[in-house]
Amino acid sequence: MIRLEGLYKSFGAKEVLRGLDLEIGKGESRVVIGGSGSGKSVILKHIIGILRPDKGKVFINDADITVLRDRELYEIRKKFGMLFQMAALFDSMNVWENVGFALTRHRKMKLSDIREIAIEKLKMVGLVGVENLMPSELSGGMKKRVGLARAIAHEPEILLYDEPTTGLDPITADAINELIVEMRERLSVTSVAITHDMNSAYKIADRISMLYEGKIIETGTPEEIRDTGNPVVRQFITGSAVGPIKVEGVSNEKHFNRA
């Protein structure tokens, strides 16, 4: 369904992806974990073709999208829905116009019908009576829900989640996790989520892959990951500052000078 082969991507002198391979099956829910700034969002943006790799291929249903023309790429994108880290709602539009955006653009439908569908999708993500509010009037958790409703409005086959729980309180975060699981069960979509929140990863993943230094260093079921022998993965999932992963700008050796 989704296959990334030997992906390389640099921004200026900064190498973010260095020969990354990743394969995700139809109907699977995959979570990619990795540290902040390790390139998780960059992976998602390659899958949906917002970024083009310096080298390597991105297959969606066996078609390499890195060689497509713009117009063909926009057609492929209609198969996708993406939830952004900060929701990325259009702040010039109210909630239902946001949710109905793809329908307004790509289907010849009456606005009143689009509004109906938007309200129905909002209900699916647990929001009622918010359709006429502006994004600035919503809390962080509500924005994510609206973002999710917008991502599913055109009935995509593939859902991408960029840090769905980051910046939310634990209870709201769990509600979002529940929603993600529910989306997969009800809509039978393929999904890729990236996160550094292990609670969320264990809850929503069929399989988890760890991104480290521009490559996937391990893939396994949540149980396999929990019992991993790989010291890098161990350090990450237990959230320890001590181990092989270097925290940028922080030395592991501390020197205390006592007078």
């Binding site: 949906i48 917002i50 713009d70 994108r77 993406m82 709602l89 259009f90 653009r105 917008r150």
Partner: protein
Amino acid sequence: MTKLIENLGRTIISFTAELGRIIMLLLETIKQTFIPPYEIRNTFVQMLEIGIRSLPVVLVTAVFTGMVFALQTYTGFKRFGAESVVGTVVALSMTRELGPVLTGLIVAGRAGAAMAAELGTMRVTEQIDALETLATNPVKYLIVPRFISGLTMLPAVTIVADIIGIIGGYVVTVGIFHTSSVVYWKRTWDFLEASDIYNGLIKACFFGGSIALVSCYRGFYTSGGAEGVGKATTGAVVLSSMTILISDYFLSNWLFR
């Protein structure tokens, strides 16, 4: 000395690269303009934004510019007895020069800043990426309407500025200095040619397109969070004002010689 040449070289290279990217964006904008579906609603919104919302400031500027121009020419030209040509001077300066340039600078400050800030905010909050994921080309959706509005509305506002400026000149010359109303209008019309007006509007058209393109460019390629948006906004105003003032000379040289 080598340092100086090195820096100069680097500046020239980065300037050329930036100019190249702006031209690429222009070509993409023109291409997207002609691909259906057309962004009629968005274009209309932007036309209101650039045209109608800029009008009050442009009107105030134009009327006072016309007035001060009449005041200065009248008192100056009186020294050699040429005060009867005030009408001509005001009309020619407004239509050829001050109408388009002042309108351009005001729109650069208002609408250009707004475009850069809006697109910049959309970039750093990933709204532009969101457009892409919703299978919508952001150049087509965001930049084409602004570019077309700049191209069409700046000349429209300039016509109003020309007229108001000439009326401002009239008020001072006739109302305050008590010269003949008939002479003012006669001098205005006798020497004003249609080419003065439409060449001025060609300039305005060019300025409008430049403001929109440069400001959208700055906003569209913003990076670095809220600070980046601030930089993009001031950068857009400075760059479009410079473009107006510099290109004005060359356009005038080409159109009015």
